[in-house]
Amino acid sequence: MQDKRNRVLTGTHFEMGNWACTEGAIAAGCTFAAGYPITPASEVANHLAARLPRVGGTFLQSEDEISAVCAAIGASWAGCKAMTVTSGPGISLMQENIGFAVATETPLVIVDVQRLGPSTGVPSVGLAGDIVQVARGSHGDYQIIALCPESPQEMFDLTVQAFNLAETYRVPVFLMADGFIGHMREQIVIPPEGELAIKQRKIPAGSTSPLERRDFQDVDVAPMPVFGRGLQAHVTSSCHDEHGMRNLSDPAVMHQYVMRPIEKIRKHRDEFVQVQADHPEAKTALVSYGTVSRSARAAARLARRQGLDVGTLRLLTCWPFPDKEIRRLAAKVDNLLVVENNTGQLYPYIKAEAAHACRVAFLGPQTLGQIHDPEFILSHIKEMIA
């Protein structure tokens, strides 16, 4: 067995997705986490509380989720790789300050172990109900990055990736897990420390005056003037220029305040938007993300066994929305069945990119809260093809 004092617990484990998420964060170099207890995300925070101080980090159990996200943003500006973890109700509370992280270009990882909503809903039952709220829930126009794991293994891999993306592009990055894989145990392989590519943010050198630096609004990512280094950083979420100085009167500054962080993500999206396809020549494709991708793949396999020409496309990145990838798929297939673990949150986006080229339909779970039975998907594939 691995020594639990190590940063990277290299080896094969049979543990929960929530455990894997914590280990991914620690392996990625996270040194600060804040969170408030909430089912089904609590195990991530519980495990972080035990692990972080052993690797030189800090865990704060906050008084609410608002405080958790704010403290994490504060710690990120203090130079820490920072995260917070919660479920849907917590995301709802965090929304205003998620916008703060967007506006101030703060690297931050937010883990959302989603559960059945609306409102208090069912704490222990997983459902991908927050997909749109993490992209559009804070006020104003903006873009974030969101990743969708389908297994405990990916709760490790994509947490590492989330930290790397947050640090590389100075953006909040969401890990959209759910209660099902968060609480599911499965094989988790953690590679040796040397095999993990870990990214660090850039920090400006030289001038101590923000007026002589570009601290914000560079589509190629401005170095981050973290606190405590005599950089006299000026950080505000109010409309500001590239030096961080508030400007509430110049329309050109207002335009770039909104647009540059959006353009930054759009410009670099090809570097990180990830989809996974199998049987790319098939004339019918199932598009899915997160836990139910496994149902979709199982259904496609059943279909092929029955002589039907069916493949799958899985979105590992759901934001920024993989529009090009959907268009490319739509050009090749006759039928596209969108399989989501909700009532159709990405369906309108997918339909908008695909409907000109092929037939598009949506399929939610037979019973919300129970991931799609492959047989259930298969019956709908048959209906669509017929």
């Binding site: 094969t12 049979f14 222990s124 145990r185 499965e186 836990t291 496994r294 149902s295 129970q370 991931i371």
Partner: protein
């Protein structure tokens, strides 16, 4: 067998979920197979219902939900009420004979072990009933090797309690029988 789906169910406090974790861990860590383990339990952690679903396979597992188990391990009458109807028609039912009184006639492959009385009377440790059930499961189905299960038990239980639990496991392995 390429893939086996199991449900282990009981009431909170009987250790059904831990039994599922040990089973999955044995398969992955020591038998080098693939496994998934999920669970559900009532808000009251003692006395409510508790169930775990385990899939063990020679290949990577795609669909991780157990809808119709091949094997149902029932530690309480409530487990029969909740889960016996979804057991596959030729599925195996393994019950704690002390806790389960009524079994529907349609179930043909039944195995019984007096897990609660073994744990109480032989082991003087009622908490080991889940290990007795694991021993019985191992004997009846060999879904995971005995060696792997024993190693996983040693790893999962508190230090100093491994012999007690292995002994309970052995009782289950020896005493399970088809009525």
């Amino acid at each position: 067998m390429p893939q086996t789906d199991l449900t282990i169910a009981g009431v909170g406090g009987q250790g059904s979920i831990l039994a599922g974790v040990i089973l999955g861990s044995a398969a992955v860590t020591y038998d080098h197979k693939y496994a998934t383990q999920t669970q559900a339990y009532s808000s009251e952690l003692r006395g409510g219902f508790a169930a775990t679903w385990v899939i063990i396979s020679d290949e990577p597992i795609e669909f991780p939900r157990v809808t119709h188990p091949d094997i149902l391990v029932a530690q309480a009458q409530d487990s029969i009420t909740r889960f016996v109807d979804v057991l596959k028609p030729d599925g195996i039912l393994i019950v704690d004979d002390d806790m389960v009184r009524e079994i529907p006639d349609k179930i043909k492959r039944i195995f019984k072990v007096p897990a609660t009385s073994i744990a109480r009377n032989q082991m003087k440790a009622p908490v080991t009933a889940n290990m007795v059930m694991l021993g019985a499961l191992c004997q009846v189905t060999a879904v995971v090797s005995r060696q792997a299960l024993e190693s996983a038990i040693v790893q999962a239980v508190p230090k100093g309690k491994d012999r007690l639990n292995l002994e309970a496991f052995n009782w289950g392995f020896e005493k399970v029988q088809a009525p």
